[in-house]
Subunit: 216 residues, 4 copies
């Protein structure tokens, strides 16, 4: 803490630019958001990856999306064991306190976390198998997905399939949260699974009828 440093000057300058334009033009809205609290329509769970910002893709402004971002956009199963579960806390808050109407899982191409999982599960990344590897233990969540795609031919194809499994595993795990299940069943909440192709700007969504991802 003693080691914290001042913000780099280029960010200070950009902040002042934002304040004098975007903030200034939307002052009334920011004031209301502060006074009345947020009321986001949707929760988005996406990857930390710097190449995928859902606010850009969906032109979403302040107040629209409650956004949780973690490695590989994963949702763990419901485990109320008294330990710290950051993702589960975000889901609990979004569903029970904010009562969002949608939870959107957004996966993407070229995902480093998914690539690590592929390497680990196929025995090529022993360092990720160590108990001390937070990334490895986090990606254990995707092991059930790996089992379903491990026989696919071609490394690229396997990685894409596992990226999509990360979305499906998360949708499955979401339903293990009792308040999610209840809200979905009573029609108060809907779940969505998306996969973004970074290089060609594509967006595919999971269609339950066919069990496949299709271009939006």
């Amino acid at each position: 803490m003693k080691l914290a440093k001042p913000l780099p000057a280029y960010l200070v300058q950009r902040f002042h630019g934002w304040k004098a334009t975007t903030f200034s033009e939307n002052k009334a809205w920011y004031r209301r958001l502060a006074d009345e609290g947020q009321r986001p329509r949707a929760m988005v769970i996406s990857c930390c990856d710097s190449r995928v910002h859902v606010t850009a893709i969906f032109g979403a402004d302040q107040g629209e999306f409650f956004i949780h971002r973690n490695i590989a956009n994963l949702v763990p199963p419901y485990e109320p064991d008294g330990n710290q579960h950051g993702t589960s806390a975000a889901i609990e808050y979004a569903v029970t306190a904010l009562k969002v109407a949608h939870i959107v899982i957004v996966g993407h191409s070229n995902c480093g976390g998914v690539k690590g999982c592929l390497d680990m599960c196929s025995g090529h990344a022993p360092e990720l198998e160590e108990k001390t590897s937070f990334v490895g233990r986090w990606m254990d969540l995707l092991r059930p997905g790996y089992e379903r795609i491990k026989d696919i031919e071609g490394e690229t194809e396997r990685a894409r399939a596992l990226e999509k499994q990360a979305i499906l595993v998360s949708l499955d795990n979401l339903m293990t949260f009792p308040y999610v299940e209840e809200a979905v069943k009573s029609g108060k909440l809907s779940l969505h699974g998306l996969w973004n192709d970074i290089g060609d700007g594509g967006l595919e969504q999971f269609m339950p009828e066919t069990g496949t991802f299709q271009a939006v």
Copy 2:
């Protein structure tokens, strides 16, 4: 999973708009980002709150920031116990794989998670004290901060002080990660603590010399 639904039409429409404009104008950059991988300069840890999007505040485009968002922008201490730690996984990946040059903790005013912590610690939110409350257990991380501010007069003042403690506790906990400590000490990484006032668009940063937050 069977319950997943198609994306709401307004988001489909916005996506197509983004693709025809922003994506199309930056096609070459997205292609390069996909082919060469990301190389973000900074990791940002901010809150899921829909009112605080750091990409907007800092005019940051795709590729600049690796962003982890959780309730109350908290970093847990280093605990390599073999359990799932999403925040720790994101930090490990940012520092050891991406080798980011900055980690910026961004807290904010009117934080619901911090408010919950205040209520819980002062005995006004028994539901958060239950073992099954993910939000409560997550906010336990901020208890050391509560101890330092509990005697401040005025509820608003106490909440603001605790919001800032969330940043300081996170900066402290960051330094318990051996690779963070090593990178900070060797000058390869710098840490920054920011607090954003939603209503008036202010930005304060923690200044270690004075031990206080000051307007940027």
Copy 3:
């Protein structure tokens, strides 16, 4: 060389100030830039004029823009004749080695080079027509642009029109470089034409659909 002098004290002082602040706050980033090499997103070609610094206008920090600056932001046509072509070398390096995603030509108002071209082409600057005039020979690149605007009424209007021609001629000449053409056609590179009004801080961009410059 024997005649080189020590740096003026005011610049020495400013350098030490920069090192103690900006550099120190961004040490880790500079170290990474040195170790990993640059990966700029865009190349900017702008004028040497001391009144137009694109890093300021676009809040761009170290690492973002590969910048070539010459008199009147001109790009010569592709001429691989074995002679020295500094601008062409910069373009070749940016496109083939750095693989930038954008080339932005930035022209500006009150351009001395463009003014000289106007005088020369209208017969009022015989000294620029001499073989020994480097400025004159350099501004010959803009003669095709002069032909297109020479009948415009009003000296100021004519100068502004020629400043914009400098941008258009450069965009045209850029496309004569085979690797530029190839990258543009395959979607790996996009070209942009901007004109900055120094006095009122305006920025206009060339819009191909209308063939005109429009405020950004």
Copy 4:
């Protein structure tokens, strides 16, 4: 030209931020700069490299430096052969029209152009020796410098030495311009040679008395 695209949205946003802050706060100065013309004190010749922006290092604002940037900050010898010489045009304009009081050559560490020259001169980059290579032909300017350092042991040491030769060759070539020589001799112009270490933020200057570069 028909292929020019609109400016990426993030740059549009940053421009508006700059206009509302930096420009707005300095409106009077920009107006004067536009009305009265520029009167820069110094010309700076530096590299296109995205990691070295002299305006940052020297805290230089609009109006201070007339800046020419090319690959490896090279100045060719005076050759008034009627061909296009962008660098020579910039020097001619700075010295004869703007009457700058200083010309500062700024070289730097990790220079890709200098590295290419080293490879080419030592026979390891045949592609740069081809007539069609603009980078290769441009780096021919540095061949005399290569001859002086080619026997230095260690690749890094050789590269650093050649980076400094790029500054010395440029200082030498500057003096072949009659108006530069005349202005230097009459005390109206002074020349300076600087080398910037990107990774550690160092700045060295050429000291003619010792014939070496020394920390500023």
